[in-house]
Subunit: 374 residues, 4 copies
């Protein structure tokens, strides 16, 4: 693991996600910016001291030489520190699982894609919300045609935790996420807008082709956007709305998507992730994990009988588990199944970076429609 | 009553709304396009045959001469037939309550406003959704300052009943609403978008100043828009999204609004109109009719103890009741209270027509932002 | 109308319910205990002064002699004053619609039943909750067999409005409902327990045969029960639970029922009366008014398109409308349809009184099971 | 770990729960009834082959002699095989965490209690539903007095998975749970009724003193109860209802509790475990993890920021984590905090066994009230 030292939020999430199914062992890490801090964090995690490294370079070099070397590297640093360790890991033969957005810039993402293709290694991106089984069932319903042709997509991701200038109040999570040097050109758009974009494209199988964005920074003194309202056009002719916000005071983490086809619609929200609504003029149906006959992709990502709620960590774990199984198969020279391959890849990373750059460009543009950057 | 003959939907709603509180008597009408049909409809309603008129002109002329003449005229015809009867009623000294949108064009609406001002008569517009007590409580919370300065408004009105070409299947409600000759330049935007606009401005007290609209007709063969996604700017600097749709298959009549201020937000939807959520980083609170201490405007518009759900007709009736009480006070030379005056007026009608014209103009424009027409 | 003077709650509900559909005209009444008060109340309601009577006897005698005499009498007095006016109305040829519980004692109810049978007149009891269209759909699902044999019924009716000694704080509604002289032997059990019992038997078509009741008075100084927890056995072998309470502080008017059959279950609650859930191991389905294909009994009791919420008053109005149509048909010598006859009758009234007497008896008994009184 | 071999449900849950926080390592086990099967299961779990034992006796004896011996034993076998390994583990100095119900009979439970007291070892029982943070907040609200004196408790646990005779269809989970030889004298009452009882006593701090139970077996051919409806009396004078069912077709795992005090009530359900409602006549408030200021016990059991749903496994993990921290403190000679000690103990186990025996006795009795066995 690169990053995820004491006090980091997403590092702990990755570790739990990796631990839940008992298929992955965390055995080494470059958890912090100094060897000392890294060792301290490693000690908390019961990692052998000689495998707590001072930085990712040391880690990759030393691990490479071990007989019991790691199979894959998990990268959980802030955005600006994804590219270098990912590149080096791939170049040295390690599979990679990386937090999103994949890199600091689009061109870095493109370089990673080249490397992934060249090396044939596995690269997973933790767009964790696609790990929810009911998201997979929604995608299945779209794909199966029961909704008919898709006409409209409404996806939203309002949060309220940055309603005040938290980055000046010593809130570590807020600091780097609102810092252009560590987050890149976008704030909310990169942090959560990309999740919304990824979810919409994952469920519908459609691609955004152009957009019209109204990007705002509401909190005085903030350096990056904290709100964006965006009109979307998709490649199929479908239209849509995407809005994301970190100043929607009172909203928790309310990722919600509605996909309307000619024949019906699906409705899913992350706050009650175990409920998927499928509605039409004729009926309203609820899908729930382990109730009735779900699609194989959904079933494969459920651990418990009906009525035993699984949440955020389990969805995150689904990304890790599928990644791990794919890596294991490939290490063993086997071919992973479609269900095992069901995790976001470098291509999702590139879409995400294109999305970020397009939103920011559209926000600054006086033209109504701005083509999706490619 | 002008309009509302057999088979009309909104005419029946108006009649029930007027009847609920026993403060209004329906005693005459020009219910249909011919005297014969009008009499037939009047008979169903137990109206004296000599007061079932062939058209609104006859009605206004004859009623004017009666000693027991009516006090007010209710206009429930399709959009293109609002202006003439409203004008004539006002010119002949009758108060008017009229279905929305107020007229066929903005310029007609302006003429009515002049007449209302000149005559001093009462003109109510049935933007019925503002009649819900929890909407009034939401407005109160905004006004009271507990939300702080408003930053963002998300208002949406998805319906699914026009997902197919109903206007060619003999569905009367669909026919006139999608017919430019009877509905005007807009379909969904005029029919329901105006409700969303009115609700947003009612609750927040803000005015839309410019917008960017993506207006669509999804159903082949349809003559007017059936979907619109709109970015909004408000006079205070607040931003927003308004989307309305009649092709959102599976959605019923899902008017929903969220208003985010610096300090918190309110969330209200018409499908569960007796629940208002007030949330912040610190708490989540539910307001319900007759629970705890609501604002006087909310209380005045509730008829029942807590847990006895009131719905669409009761909210509609609130518009009628406040209108009736205002008219009665004015007839008696008294001054209506603010609570009695709490119904939409000709000014809301003009805003609505401006909204329609701006959305349609923006939809056709390549400019990102189009100023709110005035 | 007998009762329902100024300040009465249920009288106003009855009047609105009767007015909603424009099929019933309120033209006379004995609204209060003195002629003077009755006239004052009548004036509020725009009733001709000569038809505001001093008491029900005067009303029935004088109306009987009028050419434009009323067809039916509505009785909305406290429980102890139902029997006398109902009896006299029936004896003098008037149809009767009466608030519940039908009488003060079971023996009075039996006498009314004899009279109804002898006279052939129509007698309706306002167990209004059976007026909701989704309740009718639930009954239809049970009857149609899709739930299989019914195994278990859980029906509950918690309210919180009597959590304190309101009857000593000048709350008129609380006073008579907790006064044995006006309410009879039961408080919450009679006031709301009977609604729960009626709803359970209406939906399932089953009859309670024996019960085990734990009846409590939690508020010190109260003269009647304010809470009851009851185990039920039904004639088919089904089992159940009924609990009702007026001290469930925080609950509004939360009548809720669940009916479990071998093959699935239905779930309905009065707070969101437009949603009926039908669930099994295989699926979870939502029924909503005007969505898809409902049973004829449900459809006939809906006034609005989907997504336009109807509430308590509309359900109440359904009882009135069916009663009015039945009466009209019978006056005209026609035969009412099953849908028109779908309102509670004197038989429901007798079941209700038997229920009350059995609960109170069981509450005092040391035997586990007490047979349903008959 | 004792039990939890291939195909076991609850064993996998325990393992995940133990793994989530990275504070517990599973290093050995007697997973199945034969050494061979045990090794196979251990291999799946990456357990060293020499620590996969043939039975619990071998495990305890051999582990005892190791220098790197385990600290604690987790027992996840069917009910009839809890006592022997628990006893032996305690006698040999191992802490124990055990699935519920604690033993096969009440007398066995008593013996364990004696051993726990004698040895001073830690014994945890996985009544996992008390691990939810919102349950802890509910308990806090009761304790703090904001609800006033508790009057009524309604706790219910309906499931539908045994609506058919699954035990004859090769469903392993159903087989042992409905087999008197492995489950004891009760089916649903022991399996889930004990969770309901434990939850009610945990939140309220009250003790059941007597009850009246209606215990049923609805599915023909089943050997144990599959449904129970129970009236409760508590030591404080509060009354209550507990019902549990495994034939409530359509219900998933719907543990739900309502606690009504003089001043207000709390409402919590396991299907949406991150929402706690606190209501009174004056307000309705929602508590959610990481929103606002929760009690320390709730906070300590939350891992994620607001809006990141935690579910069943996380609640289960809270029992494991608190147990592990208590054990670690005690091994280090430190004193665990109250928050670390917040897990169910042998005393809860004894209450549970008493509950089972009382319910079954009451179900067979003709007396209305049966005293809680002690």
């Amino acid at each position: 693991m690169v990053g995820g030292g004491r006090g980091a939020f997403i590092g702990a999430v990755h570790r739990t996600a990796a631990a839940i199914d008992g298929e992955i062992d965390l055995v080494c890490g470059a958890f912090s910016s100094t060897a000392e801090k890294s060792k301290a964090s490693g000690e908390d995690l019961m990692i052998a001291p000689d495998r707590c490294y001072g930085d990712f370079k040391e880690m990759i070099q030393k691990e490479k030489r071990r007989k019991d070397r790691i199979d894959a590297v998990s990268i959980v640093t802030p955005n600006h520190m994804h590219f270098a360790p990912a590149k080096m890991a791939l170049e040295n033969g390690f599979h990679v699982i990386c937090d999103k957005p994949v890199t600091f810039t689009l061109s870095e993402a493109r370089k990673l894609k080249d490397l992934v293709e060249k090396t044939g290694l596995t690269f997973a991106l933790t767009h964790n919300y696609t790990g929810y089984p009911m998201v997979k069932q929604a995608r299945h319903l779209v794909k199966s045609g029961v909704l008919g042709k898709i006409r409209k997509v409404v996806v939203e991701y309002p949060q309220g935790w940055l309603a005040f200038l938290e980055e000046k109040r010593g809130y570590k999570q807020a600091e780097w996420r609102t810092d252009p040097k560590r987050s890149g050109i976008a704030g909310a758009v990169g942090d959560i807008g990309t999740h919304a974009e990824n979810l919409a494209e994952y469920i519908t199988g459609l691609k955004i082709t152009e957009m019209c964005a109204d990007v705002s920074t509401f909190v005085e003194g903030r350096l990056l956007d904290d709100d964006a309202n965006i009109l979307l056009h998709f490649d199929s002719g479908a239209k849509g709305i995407l809005h994301c916000s970190q100043i929607s005071n009172g909203d928790e983490n309310n990722l919600y998507i509605r996909v309307y086809g000619e024949l019906g619609s699906v409705h899913w929200g992350q706050l009650e992730p175990n409920t998927l609504i499928h509605k039409s003029q004729e009926f309203q149906h609820i899908y729930r994990p382990s109730v009735g006959n779900l699609c194989p992709e959904a079933k494969a990502n459920i651990r418990l009988p009906s009525g035993h709620p699984e949440g955020y960590l389990e969805a995150f774990a689904n990304i890790y588990r599928n990644f791990a199984r794919t890596v294991r198969k490939r290490i063993n020279g086997e071919t992973p199944t479609e269900i095992e391959l069901d995790f976001p890849t470098i291509d999702d990373g590139i879409r995400g970076m294109q999305f970020v750059e397009t939103v920011i460009a559209s926000g600054k543009s006086n033209s109504k429609w701005v083509k999706f950057k490619s």
